[in-house]
């Protein structure tokens, strides 16, 4: 298993390459919108500043013999005319990227029509939870499927039987990117259909709400439901799932670390690299999970 990690600065690439990361993904600030451009706020905390920086990032990555992908995974709705979207995609296609990450059908269809040369990765936001969906998207020249955050190894095992063997698959490490809500169908972020009365965080779910009920018989559940909103739901079995995905021969593990300082990215990379090293020793699942917990306890700066 190999690491695909999110970056936001050119200077992230070399130290992470030296730690064994073999793939990077990034976004670029899109001057045509004030909103989102790739499922992150459109600013330089999360994105490279411009195309020149992207070209430099590609160059540095390739000199390190690694790969780099560009995230275009928003629904690109700010492009009022298709010609603008085509121009944007063509600009990126002329760069030496190893692939672009797309989620929405309009962008995928446009890519097929203009016959882009670069590889297309289907974002987790497109939510492929079954083999029929993957086969639908494969007709649009998708090379890699990035599985949704919450998919279980059991669900993937069923999918694996029914898709072509040349389909590349990538998973998220579920300690980090396992939101409660179905990302891709969630309108809880700052461009949601509600009316803010104060400055919004970029995801409303980070705010703790008040829960009430109009029904007396349901009042007994209020303390518990309120605590679920405070603490979120019980965690996923991220070590066990990582072990199972590895058995299923998933090759790439994705870390959504865009926006975090390089120190944290380095710490997380070291932590995941140790887990991958442990996977390579082919120990039992129980032994892996126990040792993985010990590895995790060594790292103090790995929570996002």
């Amino acid at each position: 298993m190999n690491i695909t990690i999110g970056i936001d600065k050119i200077t992230d690439i070399t130290p992470l390459s030296n730690l064994g990361v073999n793939e990077f993904f990034c976004g670029v600030i899109d001057k045509s919108t004030n909103g989102f451009s790739n499922h992150r706020p459109n600013n330089n905390q999360f994105n490279l500043s411009n195309i020149t920086d992207l070209e430099r990032a590609i160059d540095i990555t390739h000199k390190n013999k690694k790969k780099i992908f560009l995230a275009l995974n928003d629904n690109n709705s700010h492009y009022q005319h298709n010609s603008q979207l085509i121009k944007k995609i063509q600009t990126f296609d002329q760069l030496n990227l190893d692939g672009i990450i797309i989620n929405d059908l309009s962008t995928l269809v446009t890519c097929k029509q203009i016959k882009v040369k670069t590889n297309i990765h289907l974002s987790s936001l497109a939510i492929c939870l079954n083999s029929e969906t993957i086969n639908f998207y494969k007709k649009l020249n998708v090379k890699r499927i990035i599985l949704p955050h919450q998919i279980t190894p059991k669900e993937y095992k069923s999918i694996q039987k029914n898709i072509s063997t040349n389909t590349e698959v990538e998973i998220f490490f579920q300690k980090y990117n396992a939101c409660i809500y179905i990302d891709g169908l969630c309108r809880y972020h700052s461009k949601g259909p509600f009316t803010p009365t104060a400055t919004m965080p970029w995801r409303l779910c980070s705010v703790i709400p008040k829960i009430t009920t109009a029904n007396k018989s349901d009042e007994i559940y209020l303390p518990k439901i309120s605590s679920l909103f405070k603490n979120h739901l019980p965690p996923l079995d991220y070590f066990g799932n990582l072990y199972e995905f590895n058995l299923l021969k998933v090759k790439q593990i994705k870390l959504g670390t865009r926006g975090y300082p390089i120190d944290k990215k380095i710490e997380i990379t070291k932590y995941i690299s140790e887990l991958i090293e442990l996977l390579n020793h082919h120990v039992s699942k129980k032994v892996f999970c126990n040792l993985a917990k010990k590895i995790e306890s060594k790292y103090k700066n790995i929570n996002l």
Binding site: N75, S77, H78, Y79, Q80, H81, N82, L85, D104, L105, S106, L108, V109, I127, L129, N130, S131, E132, T133, N135, F136, Q150, E155, S158, I159, N162, I180, Y181, I182, L185, C186, R187, Y188, G192, P193, F194, T195, P196, T197, T199, L204, C205, V207, P209, K210, I211, T212, T213, A214, S217, D218, Y221, K224, I225, L233, P234, P235, L236, D237, G240
Partner: protein, 249 residues
Amino acid sequence: MEKAIIINNQTNLSKLSKFNRFYIGAEFCQNLLPSTDQIKKLFTNLKDKTIPISLITPIVTDIGIKKIDNLLAFLTNQKYNVDEIIINDFGVLNLIHRKYPIFQPIIGRLLSPQLLPIEIETSPRSIYSIRFLEKEYGIQRIEMDNYNNNMKIDVPKSLKKIHFSIYTPYLYVTTTRRCLFPHLLSSKPKKYEKFRCHQECLNLKQDFIIKYPIVKERFYINKNTYFIKRKKISKNLKMNIDRIVYDYL
């Protein structure tokens, strides 16, 4: 204007005379897809057997695909008046295209934001994706949420053949595969993978309301999904809206 309503076995079927289409199925959770027996019971109880019916489907895993496959096989062989399948997962569209061309597929409201950007006045770029679905999959109708009172959409002339539906009074906000309700009824904390759905959501009245301190609207929890209530429909929709879907929770 066609008036449709989402119904299930709990719906009081005697008060539906003003509607001219029924939606059955589950929009947000594959565990709530009806069994063939439940569908038979529902049809038995319907007064007007001639009313057209749409099967509404959620986002699904392979288990859900199998359930829908079985349901469609059953509905194909029965003389029920099911003529449409509402799609909220492109995998279901692929399944219908491969195996059940007898049914008319409709793009549901969870997928339509990919085709109809709702934040801008007009979007000629959407033409390609809608034309693609029209040409390759026979799509003739797209359903959408009542997203914004001031929402403006001006569909280009070349798409004038496409019909649109709008949902009211509940506007979809978010949904989860990690449903609250098994946790509410469980005494001990468990890992996500250990929970099994027993349709606990059907046993609660579910009048839970979420209020965020920084948002004007209240959010309503219904099963695994959250909604906002919005009745007023924008007058700035220059498109062929000829169906309203009433999604009373």
